[in-house]
Every structure is written in structure tokens, then in C-alpha cells.
């Protein structure tokens, strides 16, 4: 335990015990004895009292250890906090780079064991796949198909891309293609697997060309039906922090209620958007106005209690609740409107879950500041739809 020698014995003991206990990493059983102390140091890199120079030295020793340290490093990264995960994964990456630079291959079985164990962090599995591809491209290509439904975004994306490529130019596939049925089956399989927008839209377009109907909103998990109420006052941007009555009902909105709005009584109204990415233009729903607040509420049915993400894109200031629990507050106007702009983890309960958002429009007068809009989806960590809206 070369690295740990530089620490006081008590500190060493406490650090080691803390890491083993709190990070759930069974040092003795998962690492060769010589690397476990160094891995513990990397795992503790984020602690304010850690000697970061000792961590950097431990990183070098681990790299010097070679492929024997690969599996312990990747395994340790499973529950590491993000900075420690970077220390661990970059050491693994450097080990393989050194092996390849020396003209040596890392045992394929070792790489496969890393790739196939979905408990390993997806970034580490993806790099392991790249390492395999660097030393045996044909074999790496051959096994890619089995990752079509992988829980890792990068491996899944690569698998979908490879399968699309194997079909040739899918935009040239016509409805009278003699292999249409087989192609359709394959395309639907790929569409179901795809999570990234470029791949999803590409496949959707081809399926439609072949006469198939595609529900993009359902695929992404975009919520297309909401109940809206407003406008409430947001002059001088005071509305963002003003708790209007609907907020008090975020856990279970009373959609029959009437509230005092900016210009008089307001009531909820249910609207379904035809946009297949679930985009709502509140200027059309509630009337174009500056200095206003609107609330939107929607039920999502989950068949089981499960972890999910709520992802919203909007150029307006927004607050988000799930079953009354505040998930996020983003007080920004007209900065960006990218897909999945704000990602918020949430726990869905079995049955009906209520999502409420508060979406604020400010009083900027520029033409590009007229947007009062959003799109929101409920999905898993990869972007696959979770839950459904009740009929």
C-alpha cells in the first residue's frame, strides 16, 4: 500500500473504512491487494482534506500497474461521485492507451466482462467497447448488435447506428420493396431502441414513408394534454416568487376551481397540442401578453413506483412540481430552448401522479422575446417514455 503510507495511520484507517462502508466498495474482494489502497485514494479525491497530490501519484501507480487494475478501477467507479469517477475511468483509459502504444492488446475476455456487466458505469463500458474496437474492429462490430437495448446511451446509440447502416440508405426504401415486411420489422425494432433525436426522427421518417404510423410524442414521453390556468400577474418579474393559489394545490390540482387572475377570474382549461414534440404556445392558449404567469397541470399514470426524469425545454422562467414536491426552479428568460434543457429526477408512485409547472413570461419587448412556450416529457434516464396520460 505505497500510497497510503504517506498518510497518518489513523487517517489511513478512517479513510479506508469510510470508503468501504459508504461507497459500498468491497476493496478486499474486488481489487488485487496492491491496487486497493490507491483506488481508495481516488475514491476519496473529492473529500476536502484529501491530499490531491497523493491522489495524482496514486493515479500514476495505477496506470503503471497495467491491465490488472482495469477491472478494479471500473468496478470502483460504479458508485463513485463524479470527480472520483473521472479519476478512476481516466486511469483505466490511460492503462489501455499505454498497452496499445506498446503494441499489446488487452485480453478480450477482460474487456467483454467490463462491457457486458451493466452494473458498471455506462461511460466505462463505452470506453471498454472503444478499446475493444481499437484492437479488434471486426469483432467489435460483430457484437455491437447485442447492445441495441443497452442501458448505456453511447453503446445503444452505436448499436442503433450500426444497424441503420447495415440497411443501406434507408431513405431509399420504398413501399413496394420486396423485402418490405422484413424491413419494417427491423425498422420498428430500431425505432423502439433509438433514444437520440437524430436517430429517432430518421427512423420515424422512413417508417412513415413506408406507410406506418409513428407516435413520436409517445416514444419520447412528451405530455401532449395539459390543463392551463392564467394569466396571473408577473409585472416587474414579481410573479416568479409569488405563490398564486394553484401552487398550493400542486399535489392534486382542483381543476374545477376559479382563481383571481391578472385581469379577473380564471379557470382551468384542458388543451391537447397537435405538435408531436408536445410543444405548447401559451400565446395561443391564453392570449399573447407580457408580464404574466400561467400554470399547467397534467396527470401521469405509472403502473408501478419507479424512478423517472422530468425534462422540460422552455425559453421562459419555470418551476416544476411532481405530486406537490418541487423539482426545480429556473429563473431565466429567453436564453435557450434546447431539448431536455432542464432534467429533474423524480420518483413516480404507482397510479396517478400530478405534474404542475409554473411558466412565466417577462416584459422584454424584442421580437425574439415574445416566446411563451414549453415542451415537457417524462422518461427514464436514457430518454425512453415512462408512464402515460390517462385516456
Amino acid at each position: 500500500m505505497r500510497c497510503v503510507n504517506s498518510l497518518a495511520p489513523v487517517t489511513r484507517l478512517l479513510l479506508g473504512l469510510a470508503m468501504v462502508l459508504f461507497l459500498g466498495f468491497q476493496v478486499g474482494t474486488q481489487a488485487k491487494g496492491d491496487v486497493s489502497g490507491d483506488i481508495v485514494l481516488l475514491l476519496g479525491s473529492g473529500h476536502p482534506t484529501t491530499d490531491i497530490a497523493a491522489v495524482a501519484e496514486a493515479w500514476k501507480r495505477l496506470v503503471h500497474t497495467g491491465p490488472d487494475a482495469l477491472l478494479p478501477l471500473i468496478t470502483a467507479a460504479r458508485k463513485a461521485e463524479p470527480t472520483a469517477r473521472n479519476w478512476l475511468l481516466t486511469a483505466a483509459d490511460q492503462i489501455v492507451a499505454s498497452e496499445h502504444a506498446a503494441g499489446r492488446k488487452v485480453p478480450t475476455d477482460l474487456l467483454l466482462s467490463i462491457i457486458k456487466d451493466t452494473e458498471n458505469p455506462s461511460q466505462g463500458r463505452w470506453w471498454a467497447y472503444q478499446w475493444l474496437r481499437q484492437q479488434d474492429e471486426a469483432y467489435a462490430q460483430q457484437i455491437l448488435g447485442q447492445f441495441l437495448n443497452d442501458p448505456g446511451a453511447e453503446l445503444r446509440r452505436a448499436a442503433v447506428a450500426a444497424e441503420i447502416e447495415s440497411l443501406g440508405d434507408i431513405k431509399k426504401i420504398t413501399p413496394d420493396d420486396p423485402q418490405r415486411a422484413e424491413l419494417l420489422k427491423k425498422l420498428k425494432q430500431l425505432f423502439d431502441a433509438a433514444r437520440d433525436r437524430d436517430q429517432v426522427e430518421n427512423l420515424a421518417q422512413t417508417l412513415r414513408q413506408l406507410g406506418e404510423s409513428v407516435d413520436l410524442a409517445a416514444h419520447y414521453g412528451y405530455v401532449r394534454t395539459w390543463s392551463f390556468v392564467g394569466p396571473f400577474d408577473n409585472q416587474e418579474d414579481k410573479g416568479f416568487d409569488t405563490v398564486y393559489p394553484p401552487e398550493a394545490e400542486a399535489a392534486r390540482p382542483n381543476l374545477a376551481a376559479t382563481y383571481q387572475g391578472k385581469h379577473g377570474p380564471v379557470t382551468w382549461k384542458k388543451v391537447t397540442t397537435p405538435d408531436e414534440h408536445g410543444t405548447f404556445d401559451l400565446n395561443k392558449v391564453l392570449g399573447e401578453e407580457k408580464g404574466v404567469v400561467a400554470y399547467a397541470a397534467a396527470p401521469i399514470v405509472s403502473d408501478s413506483e419507479q424512478q423517472a426524469e422530468i425534462r422540460i425545454a422552455t425559453p421562459n422562467s419555470v418551476k416544476v412540481w411532481c405530486n406537490g414536491q418541487p423539482l426545480g426552479a429556473f429563473h431565466v428568460y429567453h436564453s435557450g430552448f434546447e431539448d431536455d434543457q432542464y432534467r429533474m429526477p423524480c420518483r413516480l408512485r404507482q397510479g396517478v401522479n400530478w405534474i404542475m409547472i409554473k411558466i412565466c413570461q417577462n416584459e422584454q419587448t424584442q421580437d425574439w422575446a415574445r416566446f411563451w412556450t414549453f415542451r415537457l416529457r417524462v422518461c427514464d434516464g436514457l430518454g425512453g417514455a415512462v408512464g402515460r396520460q390517462p385516456d
Binding site: 491522489v55 495524482a56 500514476k60 469517477r85 473521472n86 492507451a97 446511451a153 436564453s335 435557450g336
Partner: protein, 415 residues
């Protein structure tokens, strides 16, 4: 009379002290955004020949693994550049190439921990890395920082975007870090959260942190000598502050809002501050710190940063007017219409200025004895150029979204 002479001497002393060394970085290094003293000017002789025959002077071209508006830096014989890879641009790379051969020495990659949402036009690898000749510090739009040694081995990571999840800009963040006397100064300002912090170059730990007004800003701080001390100049929508790199405390300030994209340039105690035009300031040894010389609203920089050299200011007015102004008065001495749209800041090497537009057209402007520019040549790179070029006095380096180019200055014969 004596007091006046003393004041003049003091001003002269302050002015002479205005050129700041950059730690251990070599004299011919290009260690950060727009080089060392952040003027976009390569120190050295004025007899450096230009690149006018790119096909003959191209030394090498290297493919990059991903896009990024960040500029290359040069440390000794190493050219360092960053890139972001993947559909989400969350695999962050710091790459090192041999300056003479273009051979890749190393590629250090790690994973973003903060938000990588950004305008697709820019990218996550937007900030230019910085070096003190011993360390390389790279910052990304996700507010992830890594410090490497010159062999590409990590010395520390900081996950500022993970530590402060609201420290994000959905357009992307682009301010580049600077290193001053062992402190890495990071200006990370967005509408949701905004800080300036000083990190210990040896450990990455926070030496000081100042909460800033929540406003979006993409400018890079610059370090200058002000009397006996080094200060870091920070732009904001409120004012132009000089802070201590040791404490982050404000030493003095200029009470005027600043541009939030175009960064100030300084040379020999003279500062050109972009603020819907140029505010020309002189660093003075008084509590005020700045003396305002003149203001010109005709010198609007757009998205690029100005050059300051030998009492002249050179800049690209939107959309593509190259202007030369008198540093003493702000009078525009000459203007040239180029073409296209400019995101990369111009670079002065020897007596030639290189201005490259987004479309990849490189305009070479020769300066005459009076410092006035004329178009000496024009040639083409590939398109999509956002990064400002760099130079070590022997070669020019251009970074496009996909490639890194090196051209030999002068000798048109390939080695």
C-alpha cells in the same frame, strides 16, 4: 510642477509595468486565450514573414475528435487544444500535438459532470485552455475543469457545474481561465448563477470565491500589472473591475457596463474595453486605477476581441469591417471591408494581422510603418472557424471544427 513631473514618471512606470509575464511560460509560448498578455499579439521581432502561400507553408494538419470554438495554445513544442465528443458532447478531450510534426502526443479525455446543453453552433469545448508552462488547465462549458501536467497526466479535477448545478448557460459558456501567480482565475457567469473564483494551481482547491450578479457573460478576464501589483480585469454588465488574484477582492473599478462577448485587450498600461464601442483606459497609480482617455461608439467589436499594439487599436466591426484606430484619440485611421461573419479574434504576428471568418477565409493584413493595414493576401481554410488562431513566432495555428492546421511563417519550403 514637480508633482506633475512625478505623476508623469509614475504613469510611465505604470505603463512600462503593464506588460505581464505569464509565470513559467516561455517568451515564444502562446499560453492562453489570445496569447499571453491577452492582446492577440505575439511578442517578438517585427521581421517575422507572413503566411501568404498556404499550400507551400502548410506544415501539417491534424484531425480532431470533435468540435469546439476553443483556441489552440502553445507551450514549448506542444500544441494543446480541447474538443468535446459524442452526441451530448459530454466526453471532454484535451489533446497535445507536437508542434513540428503534428503527431499527437497524447489525448486525455474525461466525462462532463455539469450541463452540456448549449447552442449547437458553438459547443462544449468553448473555453481556451491555459498554461503556466508547467500545468495545463482546461475548462469546458459544463464548468468542468481539469489540470494536467505537460505529459497529459491529471493533477486535479474540479466539477464546478456539479458543485453548483445552476452554474450553466443554455447557450453555452465560453470564458477562458487565466493563471496568475499560482492561482487559476475562473469567471463563470450565467443568468442562474455567477461566480468568479481563484483556484490553487497545485490542488484545484478554492482559494477564494466571489458571487457575481447573475448575468450571462462569455468574456475572458485579463491579467495586467497595475503599479506594483498584478490585477485581473473582469468585465460585467455593471462595471469593469480590477480584482486581486490572491483574494478576489476589488482593487479598483471603472464604473461602466461592458460588452459580454468581446474581451478587453491591454498593452503597456493601455486597455481597450469593449462596451458598445471602445472605452480607452489607462492604468494609473491612483486609487481610481483607471484613467478614461476617450470613448468611441464607432468601434463596436461584435463577437470578436480587439488588438492593441503600438498605440493602435485593431478590431473587426460587425459584420466584417476591419478597422484601425488611433490609440491616443480613438480616431479611425483606416477601414477595410472583408467578407463573411467573424467569430475568431484577429492575431498579430510580426507586421501581419490574420483575420479568419467563419467561412474559413483567411485575410492577411500587412501593417505599414505607420501601423496602417492593407490587404496583403487572402486564402482559404475549411469552413466553420470559430476559434481564434495562435502562434509561437515560427508557425501559425488555426483550429476549425474538425481540424488543427499549422503553417510555417516565412520559409515557403517544407522541411
Amino acid at each position: 510642477m514637480l508633482a506633475g513631473r512625478m505623476t508623469s514618471l509614475l504613469r510611465y512606470f505604470v505603463a512600462m509595468a503593464g506588460c505581464l509575464g505569464w509565470g513559467l511560460a516561455g517568451a515564444d509560448d502562446w499560453p492562453g486565450f489570445r496569447g499571453g498578455p491577452a492582446t492577440g499579439v505575439l511578442r517578438g521581432g517585427e521581421d517575422i514573414p507572413p503566411v501568404l502561400s498556404p499550400e507551400k507553408q502548410l506544415l501539417w494538419k491534424a484531425q480532431l475528435p470533435g468540435p469546439g470554438p476553443s483556441s489552440p495554445i502553445i507551450v514549448g513544442n506542444k500544441v494543446i487544444v480541447t474538443a468535446a465528443v459524442g452526441y451530448r458532447q459530454d466526453e471532454l478531450h484535451v489533446l497535445c500535438f507536437d508542434s513540428k510534426t503534428g503527431r499527437q502526443n497524447w489525448d486525455f479525455r474525461f466525462w462532463a459532470t455539469g450541463s452540456t446543453v448549449c447552442n449547437p453552433f458553438g459547443g462544449v469545448a468553448a473555453s481556451t485552455p491555459v498554461s503556466d508552462g508547467k500545468h495545463i488547465v482546461a475548462l469546458f462549458s459544463s464548468n468542468d475543469l481539469v489540470c494536467l501536467d505537460l505529459d497529459g497526466r491529471p493533477l486535479w479535477f474540479r466539477a464546478l457545474g456539479f458543485e453548483r448545478p445552476l452554474l450553466r448557460n443554455d447557450v453555452g459558456m465560453a470564458s477562458s481561465p487565466v493563471i496568475v501567480d499560482g492561482t487559476v482565475v475562473v469567471q463563470a457567469e450565467s443568468l442562474l448563477d455567477a461566480i468568479v473564483c481563484g483556484l490553487d494551481i497545485k490542488t484545484g482547491r478554492t482559494s477564494w470565491l466571489i458571487e457575481r450578479p447573475k448575468q450571462a457573460l462569455w468574456c475572458t478576464p485579463i491579467a495586467v500589472r497595475a503599479g506594483s501589483q498584478t490585477v485581473v480585469l473582469l468585465q460585467s454588465r455593471k462595471d469593469f473591475q480590477a480584482i486581486s488574484p490572491q483574494t478576489g477582492q476589488t482593487v479598483f473599478a471603472y464604473d461602466h457596463w461592458c460588452d459580454t462577448v468581446s474581451s478587453a485587450a491591454a498593452s503597456e498600461g493601455f486597455v481597450a474595453l469593449p462596451a458598445a464601442g471602445i472605452h480607452a483606459l489607462r492604468l494609473v497609480a491612483s486609487p481610481a486605477g483607471f484613467e478614461q482617455l476617450w470613448i468611441s461608439d464607432r468601434l463596436r467589436c461584435g463577437n470578436t476581441s480587439p488588438l492593441v499594439w503600438k498605440n493602435k487599436i485593431y478590431l473587426i466591426k460587425e459584420p466584417n469591417i476591419f478597422a484601425c484606430a488611433d490609440g491616443a484619440s480613438g480616431e479611425i485611421l483606416k477601414q477595410l471591408r472583408l467578407r463573411g461573419s467573424f467569430w475568431a479574434s484577429p492575431l498579430l504576428v510580426g507586421r501581419h494581422i490574420y483575420a479568419v471568418n467563419y467561412e474559413g477565409n483567411v485575410f492577411v493584413l500587412a501593417l505599414d510603418e505607420a501601423g496602417l493595414p492593407t490587404l496583403a493576401g487572402q486564402w482559404d481554410l475549411e469552413s466553420a472557424v470559430l476559434a481564434s488562431p495562435g502562434s509561437d513566432g515560427e508557425q501559425l495555428y488555426f483550429r476549425t471544427q474538425r481540424s488543427l492546421y499549422s503553417f510555417r511563417l516565412g520559409d515557403s519550403q517544407k522541411e
